[in-house]
Amino acid sequence: MAERSFAREVQDLKKRAGEEFSGEGILAITKALLQSGVAYVAGYQGAPISHLMDVLNDAKDVLDELGVHFENSASEAAAAATLSASVMYPIRGAVTWKSTAGTNVAADALSNLASGGVKGGALIVIGEDYGEGSSIMQERTHSYAMKSQIWLLDPRPDLPSIVRAVEEGFELSEVSNTPVMLEVRIRSCHVHGKFICKDNRKPPFTLQQALEQPVRDANRIVLPPASYLHEAEKIEKRWPAALRFIKERKLNEFFGPERGTVGIIMQGGMYNGVMRALQHLGLADIYGESKIPLYVLNVTYPLIDDEVAAFCAGKSAVLVVEESQPEYIEQAINTILRRHDINTRLAGKGPLPMGGEYTASVLLKGIGDFLVEHTPALLGNRPPLPDPNPVLQHDKVRALAKVVPQRPPGFCTGCPERPIFAAMKLVEQELGPHHVSADIGCHLFSILPPFNIGATTMGYGLGPASASAFNVKAAKRPISVMGDGGFWHNGLSSSIGNAVYNQQDGVIVVVDNFYSSATGGQDLPSSRARNPRRSTNNSIVDAVKGVGVKWVRQIDRTYDVAKMRDTLREALTTAETGPKVVVASSECMLNKQRRVRPLFQKAQRDGKRVVRERFGVDEDVCTGDHACIRLSGCPSLSVKHTDDPLKDDPVAAIDDSCVGCGNCGDVSEAAALCPSFYRADIISNPTWLDRALAKLRSAVIGFLQNRRAGARIAFAD
C-alpha cells in the first residue's frame, strides 16, 4: 500500500448535498465523478492527476457503498481499454492519466473507442503536463481529440466550473455517443478552492447487470464495413448532436459587454490569467467585470461555428488566447471566418508567443500589444504596468544572476538508486564510458550532475528497447536502465521480451524500489507490501526468466556499491550472449521513512532498545576535494567552510537529515576514497548489557586517550 494516507481527503468524498467542499482541483474532480453516478474509474498515476488515484485507493468504503469499481491500470492503454465497458451498456466510466505522455500510450484504445462510439458516458480526465513544473515533452492533447473525434473540455480553473465540466461532460458523451476528454492543467489540478456538493449517486445501471445480461452489436466493432459506418456516423450524427448540446447548455461562456470593437476568445483554462492581465490594463476587475467582450471556450473541440462567427462579426479584431502549439483553434477560427466571409482581423500567435506557458507576464504583454494595435483608445490614459525590468537590470541583481545556481530535482536523501549510479560511474572509470539508454522514472535523475549518466530517454518502459539498434558486435556493450514502474507498464514485453527475441547482447539494469516512486509511491505488482486489494510480491526476476532471459542477477541491497559494481562489470564483460539483466532492489527511501520513522519513534518512546544510524565526516581528516560528493549528490551530504586557516576549500559535512542509508560508507570503501566518513550508531534505551559493555570500553579507551593526550607536547587549544 502507498505509504501516504489520504484518509482526510476520503472524508471530503463523503460530503452530502449542500455541504461545502474545500480542497484541490483534482480532488474536486474525484468528488464530481461520484456525484455523476460513475460505475467505474481506472487510470495510471502521474503528476498532476496522481491524487485522484491515490484518494480512490484509500476510499474503499465510499466506493463499495456506491458500487463503484476502481482499478489501478497497468498502463494508460489498459485504462483507455477499460472504457469499453461503456460501449454497449449505459454505464458511466472515467479514466485518468498524465498527458500527452499517457495519451500516447492510450492512443490505440482511444481510436478504437472513439470509432465505435459509446452508449454510457465515457470521461477521460487529462492532466495536461505543460509549462513550468512539467516533467515531459511539451505537446498538446488537442491533436488527439481532433484526430479521433473525442470532445475536449477545458473549463475555467475554478472548482465550480471544473465540477460542472465533469457532470456535463458525461451528458455530452451520452447524447453524442462520443468519449469526452476533460483537460486540466498542472496549476488547476493543484488549485485550492471551494464548491457546494451534491449527493453521491449510485450508478443506475450496474456492471453486474451488464455481465449477467450481456449485449453485443457487431456494428460497434472496428472492422469493415462497420468502420466506414463509424466515420459517417461521426460526421452525420455525433458531431451535430454535440454541437446542439454544447449550445443549448451554454457550455461556452460570454462575459463583458455584448458589443465592442475588439474581443478575446480564449481556452477556458486561460480565463484567470487573461482577467488578471485585463485588470492591470484597467479593463476588468477582480469580480469578473470586463470592458471587453470575452468568449470563453470551456469546450475547445469542437468549436461552435455560429457562436464563433457571431462573436467575431462586427468587431474589427479578435484575439485568440490559445496556449501551446500548433495553434489549432486559431486555424479553425480562421476557417470559420472565411466560410462566413467575416473580415474581422484575427490575432493570436503573433502578439502572443507560439510556444511556452502563458504566464501572467506573457499574457499582459500579448494582450497589451494587441489592444495597442487595434484599439489604443480603449486603454485610456494607461496606468503604469507592472514591469520587473528596472529591478532585473540593476547591477546588483545582474550580479546575483551570475551567482544563483540551478536547482533541478534529484535523488532524495538516502535514495537506493544513488549507489546504482555510483557503481556505474566506478565501472566506467575502469572500462570507459558506455552508451546508456535511460527510461522514465526517478532513476532518470542520473542524467544530471553529479552522475551525468544516460544518453536518451524514449518513453516509459522503453529504456532497453531504445538500445535495440546497438545489437552489433563491438568492444563495449550498451547499458540500459529501466525502473520497476516502467517494467510493469510496458517494459516486460517491449523491452525484455524484445531483447530476448532479438538476442540483444546488452546489459539491462532494472531499478526495483518497491513502488512507483516518481508518481507518488503507489504500489506495483512487484511491491513488497501486502495489499489486500491488489496482488503484490510478484517477482521481477521470475517475470524476466519467464520471458526467456538466461543471465539474471538479483541484488538485494543496492547500497552494496562494491557488489553492484562487480555485478555490472561481470555483465559487461561475460562471454554469455543475449540480454544480461541486473535487478537492483532496495526500498524507496522516501516511502521507507514514511513507513519506518513512526514505528521507530514509537518504539523509542515506549522505552524499547532502538539503534539509529547516521553518517558523519571528521572535518580534520577531510581535505575538501569533494570526490565523495561526485559519487553521491545526496542532499544530506553537503559542504561547509571551516575556520582552519590552513584549509582553503570547504570540507564535506553531513547534516541531521541523514537517514544512515550507508551509501557514503560503501562508496568511500568501494572507490577507496578517504577515511573521513564515520557511521554513528546511536543506541536509545540501552539494555544493562549495552551499558555495562559501554562502561568497560570507555574506561579502557578513556584511559588510553588521556595517557596519550597527557604525553603530547602541544599548544593549548
Binding site: I286, Y287, V403, P408
Partner: protein, 511 residues
C-alpha cells in the same frame, strides 16, 4: 465610447493580496501554504493557492502561490494561478538562494514586496561537486534584496526550527506573524496550527520564537565564508620546546606572518613534534630571506601556510591518531546530537591500498617493494579491501591506537622521504622565481592548494599540481606570470579530470 466610459466606473478597485512561497522539495512548503489559506479563510477572506510540485518535490526548487481577498457579499473574486510581477505583496523564501531566485523571477518589487526569508543555505549539487570552493556568495543575495524589496526580514529559521525539534514551515509561519506580513491577528495563526493536529507543540514553540525574532525586523548578518581562526602569538606556551618555537617566530619573522606561522607550528607539533615544527620554521625562513616588506611579506605568508599543509601530509599514522583522540569522540557525540543517556559507537570506513601500507615501511624496504611490481601486487592483494573499524570497541581501538602511536617511526618511512623530496623540489621552483618574478613565486606556493584527497583523488591532485609546476618555467619572464599561475590553479579546481586545466595549459603553451 459612452458605453465604455460608464462601464469603467463600475469596475471595482479591489486588488488581491499575493503571497509567493519558494521552497525546496521536502521543506514543507505545502504545509505552509495550507496554513496561510486556512488562516485567511478563518478571517473571512477568499483564498486560492496553487503549486506546481510535480517531480520538483524531489529536492528541486518549488513555487507555491496564494492570492487572497477580503470577501464581499455575493461576489467571487477571480484569482490568478501564478504570480506576476507587481502582484506579490509577500515573498516567503525557505532558503537564502531561493530568496535570490525570487528576485530573479521578478517577483520582488521595491514598492510592494515584503520578503521573509531564512538565511541558511542548502547547497545545490553544482556548488558541492567542484574540487574547489564553488559555494555561491550569499552576500550577493543580501545586496540584491536591498535594491529589489520594500522590506526584508531574514534570519536562520532552519536552525531555529531544528533547535526546537520541528521543521522550517512553522518558523516561516511565525516570521510572517512577527513581521506583520498579513492583516491577521496573532491568535488566528495559533488557532490554525492547533487545528492542524500534528506536532502542534514543537510547531507552536518555533512559531513563537520566530515571531519574536521577526518582530525586531532586519536581516541577520551574513558573510561570504566563515572567518579563519588566526590566533595571535601567545606570550607563553608552558613547555620549553614550545617556548623555543614561539621565540623563533618572534625573533626571525616579520609581524604580519606571525599568526599563520603560529597556526603552522601548532599543526606540526600536533602532527609530529616540536623538532618537526623547527624544521618547518627553517623552510619558511628560507623563503623569508628572499622576501621583504616592499611586497607586504606575501611570500613569507604563502610559505607559512602551504609549507605547513605540505609537511602535515595525511598518512595512516595521522588518520589513526585523529580518529582515536578523546576530543574527537566528544565532537562526534555533539555532531550527531547523542543524548547523555544514549550510547554511541562509531564505525570507520578505511580502504588502505598497498601504496598506503608500503608508505609506512622503512624507506629502503618500501623503495625495494615499489620497484618490484610483483611484491607490490602481492601486498596489494593482501591489504587492498574495505575495512570497517568499530572504534568504540577495545580491540579495534587498540589497533588504531597503536598505528596512531607510530609517530616516532614516521621520519623513517618511505612516504616521509617521498613527501620531503617533493616538498623540496617545489620550494626550489618557488625560490628560483623569487628574485626575478616575486608575484609568480607567491602563486607557485599557493598552488599547493591542489594537493589534497586520498588514494586516487590524491594522485589526481598531485598530478595536476605537478603539471602546473611544469608550466612555471614558461611563465618566468612574463609580467603577468602570476595571473596565469592563478588561472591554472583555478581551472585545476574546476573539474576532477582536469579538462579545464588542460585547456589553460594549451593556451599557455601558445603564449
Amino acid at each position: 465610447m459612452d458605453d465604455l466610459a460608464r462601464s469603467t466606473e463600475t469596475l471595482a478597485a479591489d486588488r488581491p493580496f499575493g503571497i509567493a512561497i519558494l521552497a525546496m522539495g521536502g521543506q514543507g512548503g505545502g504545509v505552509l501554504t495550507d496554513w496561510i489559506v486556512a488562516l485567511a479563510e478563518s478571517q473571512g477572506w477568499h483564498a486560492q493557492s496553487t503549486s506546481i510540485a510535480g517531480v520538483a518535490q524531489r529536492t528541486g526548487a518549488t513555487l507555491y502561490y496564494i492570492e487572497m481577498l477580503k470577501a464581499r457579499d455575493g461576489l467571487r473574486p477571480i484569482l490568478s494561478l501564478m504570480p506576476s510581477p507587481g502582484d506579490v505583496d509577500v515573498v516567503v523564501a525557505a532558503e537564502w538562494i531561493e530568496a535570490g531566485r525570487s528576485v530573479l523571477r521578478g517577483l520582488v518589487t521595491p514598492d510592494k514586496t515584503l520578503l521573509v526569508a531564512s538565511t541558511h543555505r542548502a547547497y545545490a549539487v553544482s556548488e558541492k561537486e567542484k574540487p574547489g570552493d564553488a559555494i555561491a556568495d550569499p552576500v550577493a543575495v543580501t545586496e540584491a534584496l536591498g535594491v529589489a524589496a520594500r522590506r526584508v526580514v531574514a534570519f536562520d529559521m532552519e536552525a531555529l526550527a531544528q533547535r526546537l525539534g520541528t521543521v522550517i514551515s512553522a518558523a516561516l509561519f511565525g516570521a510572517l506573524a512577527g513581521a506583520n506580513a498579513l492583516p491577521f491577528p496573532r491568535e488566528a495563526y495559533v488557532a490554525v496550527i492547533r487545528a492542524g493536529g500534528r506536532g502542534v507543540e514543537p510547531s507552536l514553540k518555533a512559531f513563537e520564537a520566530a515571531a519574536a525574532h521577526a518582530s525586531q525586523g532586519g536581516v541577520a548578518p551574513i558573510e561570504r565564508a566563515r572567518a579563519k581562526r588566526l590566533d595571535a602569538l601567545p606570550l607563553t606556551a608552558g613547555h620549553p620546546l614550545l617556548e623555543r618555537l614561539l621565540a623563533r617566530i618572534r625573533g626571525e619573522f616579520p609581524d604580519p606572518a606571525h599568526a599563520l606561522l603560529y597556526a603552522g607550528v601548532r599543526r606540526l607539533t600536533d602532527f609530529q613534534d616540536a623538532d618537526y615544527a623547527d624544521e618547518y620554521l627553517d623552510r619558511v625562513g628560507r623563503m623569508a630571506k628572499l622576501d621583504n616588506s616592499a611586497h607586504g611579506w606575501a611570500l613569507t605568508g604563502a610559505a607559512a601556510k602551504y609549507i605547513a599543509v605540505a609537511m602535515a601530509y595525511d598518512d595512516i599514522i595521522r588518520i589513526a591518531d585523529l580518529k582515536t583522540r578523546g576530543s574527537r569522540f566528544d565532537r562526534v557525540r555533539r555532531e550527531v546530537r547523542a543524548a547523555p543517556n544514549q550510547i554511541l559507537y562509531m564505525t570507520e570506513f578505511m580502504h588502505p591500498r598497498a601504496e598506503e601500507i608500503v608508505g609506512t615501511f622503512p624507506r629502503g624496504l618500501g623503495q625495494w617493494i615499489e620497484n618490484h611490481r610483483g611484491a607490490f601486487r602481492f601486498i596489494d592483494r593482501l591489504v587492498n579491501k574495505g575495512r570497517r573499524i568499530r572504534t568504540g570497541t577495545i580491540s579495534a581501538f587498540l589497533m588504531l591506537y597503536f598505528l596512531g602511536g607510530m609517530r616516532g617511526w614516521r621520519r623513517r618511512t618511505l612516504r616521509h622521504a617521498q613527501e620531503r623530496a617533493h616538498l623540496e623540489r617545489w620550494l626550489d621552483i618557488a625560490a628560483a622565481q623569487a628574485a626575478g618574478n616575486y608575484a609568480l613565486a607567491v602563486e607557485i606556493l599557493n598552488a599547493r592548494r591542489l594537493v589534497k584527497g586520498y588514494s586516487d583523488t590524491h594522485a589526481r591532485g598531485l598530478s595536476k599540481f605537478d603539471r602546473v609546476m611544469a608550466a612555471a618555467p614558461l611563465l618566468t619572464n612574463r609580467a603577468d606570470g602570476a595571473r596565469w599561475m592563478r588561472l591554472l590553479v583555478a581551472s585545476a579546481l574546476q573539474d576532477e579530470a582536469g579538462t579545464d586545466l588542460d585547456g589553460t595549459l594549451k593556451t599557455i603553451a601558445t603564449l
